[in-house]
């Protein structure tokens, strides 16, 4: 039976809201000995986890429905919220289903969280995943391959069997397919944003953080098929790219508020890991080398990643704007997010020079007040429309 849109969204929503990760527990229980490895945003090479026969699980914070007590006990008021809620989930047993955690090289807060995890969860596998800021294959590439090799060996040991090149290549192929589906999803929304509202697209993406890619890819395809059958009215809204929410996630109600206020989000950086590598990774070569090359030469730009040349700054954002036919940019950064907030003035500078309008606000994953954001997004949408009519 073909699932209806309602079924699909109900499933995605349930997965999104379940902070006890029952989907992960069920996946593990289905075959004895299965293991799951958590990762935080923005990017880790999930292919290696997958090739070890393990489930990579994206841990994207606690959202706006969880009370945080112990997590707050470890952080000062000037630190963002995602490490608090992540610790809270860990300390309250919600992440017990994970056999390890990977912490990407993203910012000092997440970096230090990797060490806190080592102290607090001594029986779990914990690894900080460094990625190179030198983009020469012989320099940064070699280092990165070695980093991935270490992860490969560690996970092979935990799995009880080394990870073969064949297994890695097979996983690369699986993720290639998933990436294609996600790219199609984004392309579809950019084309018909009234058909695929961002709140839905977001939930479909988030489902991929807990589902194995073999299940997520058909889910994305099913959503695309189902949503295209819907008869949804096209409205006169401003087309915007939303940027800066690559780590801590805004609450779903905030995403809805932006679209309700008169914007169509045609591109964003939620769940960036699914679109981090920009194209196919060859699945028939030396797998780590191919993953490294894809990272070094064909991956998205993001605030935590060094831009070698001044001219490179903002290229990806401009590409997103062009590709999505956007008329403006909304900078939505988590409060106290160093990468997003330090990057912002540079991107704004570039947009100003290109005469692309933008607006900016900050949020926390548990932001409760939507009225100011609705107002701001609405005013922004109105001003874009006025500007384009003039």
């Amino acid at each position: 039976m073909v699932p209806t849109l309602k079924d699909i969204m109900a499933r995605c929503e349930a997965l999104f809201e379940d902070l006890h990760f029952n989907a992960v527990k069920e996946w593990k229980a289905a075959v004895p000995g299965r293991k799951a490895i958590g990762f935080m945003p923005v990017y880790v090479p999930r292919e290696i986890v997958h090739a070890a026969g393990m489930l990579p699980v994206g841990i994207f914070g606690g959202g706006d429905q969880m009370e945080v007590i112990q997590g707050d006990a470890y952080y000062q008021s000037y630190i963002c919220r995602i490490p608090r809620s992540t610790l809270e989930m860990g300390l309250t047993g919600r992440l017990d289903c994970l056999d390890g955690m990977l912490f990407p090289s993203l910012c000092d807060v997440i970096r230090n969280l990797s060490g806190m995890w080592q102290v607090l969860f001594k029986d779990k596998y914990v690894r900080y995943i460094d990625v190179p800021h030198n983009y020469l294959d012989s320099v940064g590439g070699e280092f990165y391959i070695q980093e991935m090799q270490t992860l490969r060996e560690d996970l092979g040991r935990i799995a009880g069997k080394p990870i073969s090149d064949e297994a890695l290549n097979a996983s690369i192929a699986v993720y290639n397919e998933n990436r294609r589906a996600v790219q199609d999803l984004y392309a579809y929304r950019a084309q018909k944003p009234w058909q695929a509202p961002t709140a839905e697209v977001y939930l479909v993406i988030r489902a991929g953080m807990v589902l194995p890619p073999e299940e997520h890819t058909p889910l994305v395809r099913a959503y695309l098929a189902a949503v295209d059958l819907e008869d949804r009215p096209k409205r006169d809204k401003a087309r915007v790219v939303l940027t800066g929410s690559f780590c801590e996630q805004p609450p779903l109600s905030l995403i809805k508020s932006i679209e309700m206020a008169g914007c169509y989000v045609v591109d964003d950086d939620f769940g960036l890991i699914m679109r981090w590598l920009l194209d196919e990774v060859p699945a028939d070569g030396n797998p780590l080398e191919e993953l490294s090359k894809a990272y070094l030469h064909r991956s998205a730009q993001q605030a935590s990643k060094f831009d070698e040349k001044k001219e490179d700054k903002g290229k990806y954002l401009l590409h997103q704007i062009k590709q999505g036919g956007a008329e403006g940019v909304i900078f939505a950064a988590a409060s106290f997010c160093d990468p997003a907030l330090l990057e912002r003035p540079m991107l704004q500078d570039i947009l100003s020079k290109q005469k692309i309008p933008y607006t900016a606000f900050k949020f926390a994953e548990n932001t409760g007040q939507m009225a100011p954001i609705r107002e701001q997004a609405g005013t922004f949408a109105d001003s874009i429309k006025l500007w384009s009519d003039a």
């Binding site: 006990a73 926390a364 007040q369």
Partner: protein, 446 residues
């Protein structure tokens, strides 16, 4: 007799506690912290010593059995009469001060009219004064500034109109004068005021007059007893401004921990939520602080937050708790940031959430912050003592009970009706320990 005194100089009120050689609390005193901290400390201490006299009266009179069965009634009347006497002394001074301040060039042509309006005003006030201290009379505050001020304002407008002067002239005189008066010390009048009050009491309770001598004797002997200020310890935010040497100053964290231990000997963890800060303190079996944490630089979730909410809702601070208790539905409030609270509140109201449900959510949000600070200090251990202004708010207490149970299981939660004196009691106990256990003698004041 030897008295050990602790003075807690807080940002809004100054508290004093006196204990005796057996560590019994014999007196408590409280006054508003005024511009002059020295005076505030002195007056709080005097209040505590007056309170100690009443403690001793009670002891002496119950031993003499001169007032069999009528002791409490008599002492209550005596206290009211004493308050009235004290009030009248200060009131007389206030009148003189006001007259003085109204003289001269200040009001130009209106000078005369102002002076006569003042006379008229004070005459009316004097007539109604006894009713302020009548049995069952309700006062919003016991501080002279508040009692005298509220009546002055209430009657002043009419008097000004009748006298053909501007009301603000009278206000100006009052504002100028009250500062002088409240920074003056009336300690020397205490004994005389007590004796005068005694005469009033015999009149008010004529059935006791026949036993006047039997009652007077023990009271006189108490009055003759010198209450020696054997050792004084100062604490609280203003402690650095007390004219004490370093030996006589303790941090309010230490005093708070010890005070909570003295009130509830089983105390292991103390939570104090005051207006400006939240403290979590762990104490050992002697009441010595083992660790403490305070809210970080961000004051989210302190008592002041409730003040903002009350302003935002156009309600009195004391009405918030009772309203929250009427909640029937759980509403999650995420922001304890005072800056954002208003916006979130309005958002919720516009979404049709009920005020009482939102209020309950707000109280829980505050207590959640406190729970984090407690976790930071090492968690909650049995017994758990809750102090500070917010401990008087029933909705906050309910939220705390719920969260303690959810996170730590069954615990003994102590909330003392006199918790406002916790720091001062700790100070008094430090004073006792300094002399009795460490053999220190009081140093001359610097």
């Amino acid at each position: 007799m030897r008295c050990f005194i602790g003075i807690d100089l807080g940002s809004t009120t100054t508290k004093a506690v006196a204990i005796d050689e057996h560590q019994n609390i014999i007196g408590r005193g409280i006054t508003n912290s005024r511009s002059n901290y020295d005076t505030a400390a002195k007056i709080a201490k005097q209040e505590a010593l007056v309170n100690a006299r009443f403690y001793l009266f009670r002891q002496a009179l119950s031993q003499s059995s001169a007032l069999n069965g009528a002791l409490e009634e008599f002492l209550a009347q005596l206290e009211r009469d004493f308050r009235l006497e004290q009030f009248l002394v200060q009131f007389t001074d206030l009148e003189a001060t006001c007259q003085r301040n109204a003289e001269g060039e200040r009001f130009g042509d209106a000078s005369k009219a102002v002076l006569s309006a003042l006379s008229e005003l004070f005459q009316r006030l004097r007539i109604e004064a006894p009713t302020l201290f009548a049995p069952g009379a309700k006062r919003r505050s016991d501080f002279f500034r508040d009692i005298a001020g509220s009546r002055y304002l209430a009657l002043g407008e009419e008097v000004a109109k009748e006298g053909g002067i501007r009301y603000d002239m009278l206000l100006n005189v009052f504002d100028r004068s009250i500062i002088e008066v409240e920074n003056r010390d009336y300690g020397s009048a205490i004994s005389a005021n007590l004796l005068a009050a005694l005469d009033r009491t015999f009149i008010a309770l004529p059935e006791t007059a026949s036993r006047a001598d039997a009652i007077r004797a023990p009271i006189r002997s108490v009055l003759d007893t010198v209450l020696e200020e054997t050792y004084v310890i100062g604490t609280g935010y203003g402690r650095a401004r007390l004219p004490f040497s370093k030996e006589h100053i303790r941090s309010e964290i230490l005093c708070h921990g010890l005070g909570a231990h003295m009130m509830h000997a089983g105390t292991a963890t103390v939570l104090d939520i005051g207006g400006q800060d939240t403290k979590a303190i762990q104490v050992d079996q002697h009441g010595i602080v083992e660790s403490f944490q305070m809210n970080d630089r961000c004051a989210a979730g302190c008592g002041r937050y409730l003040g903002y909410i009350a302003d935002e809702m156009n309600m009195g601070l004391h009405e918030l708790g009772p309203l929250a208790m009427k909640a029937t539905k759980k509403v999650r409030i995420n922001s304890t940031c005072t800056v954002f609270a208003g916006a979130e509140l309005r958002d919720r109201l516009s979404l049709g959430e009920k005020r009482e449900d939102i209020m309950a959510g707000l109280h829980r949000a505050i207590i959640l912050r406190a729970m984090s600070i407690l976790a930071r200090s090492g968690g909650i251990r049995n017994e758990f003592t809750f102090t500070g202004g917010v401990a008087k708010n029933e909705a906050a207490v309910k939220a705390l009970k719920d969260l303690v149970f959810e996170n730590y299981g069954e615990m003994t939660l102590n909330i003392n009706p006199d918790s406002i004196f916790t720091g001062a009691l700790g100070g008094a106990t430090f004073a006792y320990r300094a002399v009795v256990e460490e053999g220190k003698t009081a140093e001359a004041r610097e």
